[in-house]
Amino acid sequence: MTRCSWIPKGCSRPKTGTVLVSMLAVMAALTIIFLVALTIAVGVYTRHVKAVNRMTASFLADSGIQRCRLSSPPIPKCDTANCWQTPNGGMVCTRMLPWGPVLLAFSEGTYANQQVTTAAVLGATPPAVFKAAIVVSDPEYPLVVSGTTTITGDVITGPLGITSGRFQGQDIVNEHYHTGNVIALQRPPAPKTDTAVLHQYIRDMQTRRAQCRKRLPASVTFRASEAGLWQEGRSVLVENNAFLDGLQFDRRDSTYSLFADGRVEIGGHTQVLGTIEIISRTTIVLKDSAVVDQALLYADDSIVIGGAVRFSGIAISPHRIVIRDRARLEFPAMLVVDAPSDSCADSCGIFLRTVAPVEASCIVLIEEHSTRIPEPQILIDTNVTISGVLVSQCVVDLRGTLLGSVWTTLFRFYAPPTTYVNWLRNAHVDRPRLTFVPALPILPGDTVASNLHVVWQEEAKP
């Protein structure tokens, strides 16, 4: 047996150096922990820096929208960008384009490699006329109220003023049917909007349609996530019918388009949110529990919104828009019928027949006005309650409740065999109960006295 000479007899060789090695191992472990903690701390710091820079970029994007508010007609004819540097070293780029009867603005704020895009819809700031409950521009007829009609707010009419009438032998129920001032004018203001914006939008939309590269020849049903659909280019054209059943679309960083030569049906649990235009050459139908928010619908024939749909976008048709069943319109919903003439083959205009609450602006415009009492109308059915404004260059048939203002050429309702011109029966108008600034189309240049109004504004998801 070999023995080390210095080890005493009976003793084994000691295990030297173990403690130091153990300490070194512990130090190595602590160093790893420190490095992990440092990495986490740096990561947290970086996130905070990004958050502050993103907040700064967000303020810049909002500034772009504010500059867009200063625009006044003539409206932008093409989608051109306008960029400028800011005093804090950032950059803002904006672009505006017609979006139905209003303007759509995109603003990109960039600061220290953080970019925020904000989309906004700009409409007219409501002029003073909307402070009144009722404005009737035709000076030839008095405004006649009957039944249970009540009016709260000012009334602007022609020189014949307002009076109560007997309907089918019945006097008006409430003698004090009006609370407010009556302003009788020789020439009350007539409702008008700047249709140049709407017509420019239609031309641009048709150009986008002609330039659309992604074409699907047959009828298509869009069910799943939309991610793949709009990856190549921002527009899709279906050369037949299009069915959206469960599609989930949510984008606000640019405009997107879905064109259909046939019918478009949006149903199921489809959610269409953001700056997308859905165009049909025939009819668009919304049904079931679909949700459409901020999108624009345009149909050459008609738009029908029914079921339990929630709609808060813009619907435009030259013929007819119908809201029925339990469909719910929410601010800032806007319905626009731009009728080519004042005669209809069948009923034309906007028809509200839903039992759910409605928050909307209803606009009926007419291109050529030749008859005394044009056919296109806004019909607010019995038991319908609408918060918002009604603007009609034709007639309004108000049978329900309006919490807001109505600006029309004439009222009308039909009780066979008689047409009652400029009559209100069992209608209720209450201006003070309008609690929000309504969305309005761009007004003609000579009536613009205020900045454009931001109807809605939202940041695009990163």
Binding site: C11, R13, S22, F34, Y45, A51, V52, T56, F59, A449
Partner: protein, 120 residues
């Protein structure tokens, strides 16, 4: 030959003391390094400065009389220097806000916002 069972090995007190000292020195160095790094990063400062800047911009948008505001604010026990300048260009109001730790030069926030003057 008989095998001899050896006695249990041990560590001298000196070895233990040296090892413990090395451990404590190393640990304290690591902790102080971590604290210094976190302090220099100033994550809390960024959060506070962001909130102050946002408040200053939103307040200016509502409407204030002073064209420039230079003030020291206290947030979570720390002092921050906030400088706000308001400029008017036609129908636009521009608000420039910088925030830094009191008596320090590094800018924590350098924000700018514009708002349109309402016309009636």
């Amino acid at each position: 030959m008989k095998s001899v069972k050896g006695a249990e090995s041990g560590f001298t007190i000196l070895e233990v003391l040296v090892a413990a000292t090395v451990f404590l020195v190393g640990l304290s160095l690591l902790i102080s390094l971590l604290n210094t790094t976190l302090g220099r990063l100033g994550t809390d400062d960024l959060e506070a400065a962001g909130a102050l800047a946002k408040s200053a911009i939103l307040t200016a948008s509502v409407g204030t009389d002073a064209a420039a505001v230079d003030t020291v604010l206290v947030c979570s026990g720390k002092k921050y220097h906030l400088h706000r300048t308001i400029t008017t260009n036609g129908r636009l109001v521009g608000v420039m806000v910088t925030v830094q730790r009191h008596k320090q030069t590094r800018l924590l926030v350098n924000a700018y916002a514009e708002t349109a003057i309402e016309t009636h």
